[in-house]
Amino acid sequence: MNEKVINNPLEDEAIYIFREVAGQFDKPVILFSGGKDSITLVRLAQKAFYPAKIPFPLLHIDTGHNFPETIAFRDQLVEELDLELHVHYVQDNIDAGNVQEESGKYASRNMLQTDSLLQAIEKHGFDACIGGARRDEEKARAKERVFSVRDDFGQWDEKNQRPEVFDMLNGRIDFGQNVRVFPISNWTELDVWSYIQKEKMEIPSIYFAHKRKVFERDGMIWSAHDEYVFREDDELVVEKIVRFRTVGDMSCTAAVESLAFDIDKVVEEIAASSISERGARIDDKRSEAAMEKRKQQGYF
């Protein structure tokens, strides 16, 4: 028997938020990308409801441009924890002519995810979508509430958010609306990595240094995966030892050169880093307000 529960305020807060979701909503879902933040979410949900199973399914919006390692990891996790997984494919939406694939050098399916997400919410009637966004990631995210209400069109009304005082979370909504819930709002990137380290959690191998065929553009390193990532003829493919700090689509996630082959080295590297994690996301570089605009339209 252990003496006294050791407090970790961030973990306690996240567990509290998960339990509020269970208490306040009928059809919650965890938005699962296979990245480190959503893996952390699953871990926290496990802790919140143990010894019962996680009482929510997972939803993955699959762009078709994922790293294969992420998908393999996802399927393994779902099986281990005996979870229900919904996958919605952006490709289906493109084939049906609902959305138009981007073209050109910076083409990415990142923006197209929003439509698939909103369709999935409507189809299943999800009333709470739990996401792994953190306030330290980006300046518009820094403004968001833990329970963030979206209207019938999935839109975020950033200038008119509900007050959120103390730890009282108000998840009351009308039919058709939904709430985006962010249990790890107050975690930093380093908090997440330290937690993965402490908990000895498994994560997809692409987060660790590995050899990869890449090319450089605008000072960033891209996966040379010609099927998904556009490459000019003069952008030469070389082999480098790299890792990924964040895992989105291949077409919008840049790698960093790194020799961090294990979690201890990754934590060290993050602690010493002078670039933020979103610095490696081309989707944020499109404009000053890229994230805010996407959120208004219903993005994660």
């Binding site: 028997m1 252990n2 003496e3 006294k4 529960v5 407090n7 970790n8 305020p9 973990e11 306690d12 567990i15 509290y16 339990r19 509020e20 208490g23 496990q46 802790k47 919140a48 409801f49 143990y50 010894p51 019962a52 199973k53 306030r135 330290d136 980006e138 300046k139 518009a140 995210r141 820094a142 403004k143 950033e158 200038k159 958010q161 509900r162 007050p163 959120e164 005082v165 103390f166 730890d167 009282m168 108000n170 009351r172 009308d174 709002s185 107050n186 380093l190 908090d191 330290s194 934590v267 602690a271 880093s273 002078s274 670039i275 933020s276 979103r278 610095g279 000053e288 307000a289 805010e292």
Partner: protein
């Protein structure tokens, strides 16, 4: 953050619009080397675009398009940084009176409030209002930053006059158990924020950052009785845990131990704590803040919203409460209107019995008879409840003494209350 994960100091900013709150936070981030290269580049780019010949540090926190266009803060930004000593979570709040509800949001979770004053303007109405709100929230640690000292030639007499002015506010306040520190700074130029300044050589106190680093967490922690509100009942219904029925919640105040005699409210049924667990581990005790699961010796009926307390530490019980309310909705609060009252995680139907008076926010405590409370008003209100709640006075247990009022039609959080 490695190694000091459990040492977090939560700060918030306060003060009138344009007093320099966001600039101060940006300056702290810059001078502690907490801005990553890409974020700093973005600030440099935007500052240049706006035609400034200095860096506009408010851009580090004003993240919304509308905020950057108007040069004001509209909603709270949460900012994170750490020193070798500990981690900080800063809520940078808006100064504009229209966004007081967002200021309350940011301040409600913080332990330290930095109230900024524009040295040219001195103590103004909004300074008073924000000091008053901090007192209402019982923020223990207040730092008064007299900012823009560069614009008054770092003049000591003028600074002293402002300090004196503020001190007269303190004497009128109903919350005396508070530490208040005055620091002259220039957020824009960095004087006395992180580094000591030649310009303020006459000031013998600590810089802003030195002061924050030296605040002891033990000194600002609330001592309160153990209150365990059940968020959800865990029933695995598996072979292994066939009869398991655990009560999951986050302990507010105090400590609970296995074997403690407890009472479940509202039923009043008594039992003992059989087990305390966190994830797959069992423990003998848990203290304030822990998100745990407990089981009881007896098969009593417990559901979401029920409160488990030590039998010798019962809270108050009532269907009628008196509370100070800070109103946050466009639709005014009126007598006889009905709201959901959310006390922690428990929702109860409620009706406003009477608005006793509106309280002036200038810390004179003056009262005024009114028939309604408008957005950003503060007042003393009596509320009737459909079922009793089990509470403490806010002064005795913040977590069990506060509530929100939720509009039954729009669902918005319309007001926050502090039980007397």
């Amino acid at each position: 953050m490695v190694g000091n994960k459990n040492k977090v100091l939560k700060l918030s900013t306060a003060g009138s619009v344009d007093d320099g709150k966001s600039t101060l936070i940006g300056r702290i981030l810059y001078d502690t080397h907490s801005l990553t290269d890409d974020k700093l580049e973005a600030i440099e780019r935007s500052s240049k675009q706006k035609g400034y010949d200095y860096l506009d540090f408010s851009l580090a926190t004003d993240g919304l398009v509308a905020e950057r266009e108007q040069g004001i803060t509209i909603d709270v930004a949460h900012i994170y940084f750490s020193t070798p000593n500990r981690s900080y979570i800063i809520a940078d709040t808006p100064g504009h009176v229209e966004y007081t509800r967002n200021m309350v949001t940011g301040t409600s979770t913080s332990q330290v409030s930095i109230i900024l004053i524009d040295a040219r303007k001195g103590v103004i109405e909004q300074t008073k209002r924000h000091f008053f709100i901090n007192n209402l929230l019982r923020t223990k640690e207040i730092v008064v930053a007299v900012n823009k000292m560069d614009l008054i030639d770092f003049n000591q007499e003028k600074y002293n006059a402002i300090v004196e002015d503020f001190q007269s506010l303190i004497s009128g306040s109903d919350y005396q158990d508070q530490n208040i520190t005055f620091i002259p700074v220039s957020a824009l130029h960095g004087d006395n924020v992180v580094d000591k300044s030649e310009n303020l050589a006459w000031f013998k106190g600590e810089t802003m950052m030195e002061h924050l680093e030296n605040i002891r967490l033990e000194d600002i922690q609330e001592e309160a009785k153990a209150r365990f509100q059940v968020q959800t009942v865990i029933r695995p219904k598996t072979e292994e845990f066939h009869d398991f029925r655990g009560y999951a919640g986050k302990l507010k105040g105090g400590e609970l131990k296995v074997g403690d005699d407890v009472t479940v409210l509202p039923s009043g049924r008594k039992s003992q704590i059989k087990s305390i667990s966190f994830f797959d581990q069992q423990y003998l005790s848990a203290s304030k803040g822990s998100s745990i699961t407990i089981t009881l010796m007896d098969d009593v009926n417990v559901s979401r919203g029920d409160l488990i307390v030590k039998s010798e530490e019962l809270p108050k019980e009532s269907k009628s409460i008196m509370a100070k309310i800070c109103w946050m909705d466009n639709k005014p609060l009126e007598a006889a209107s009905t709201y959901f009252l959310q006390h922690g995680v428990k929702l109860v139907k409620s009706k406003v019995k009477s608005i006793n008076h509106k309280i002036s926010t200038d810390t004179t405590g003056a009262t005024e008879k009114v028939s309604q409370l408008n957005m950003n008003d503060l007042g003393l209100v009596e509320i009737q409840l459909a079922q009793p709640i089990h509470f403490d006075a806010y002064d005795e247990n913040k977590g069990n003494g506060a509530f929100i009022l939720v509009d039954t039609k729009s669902n918005t959080t319309a007001g926050v209350g502090f039980i007397l």
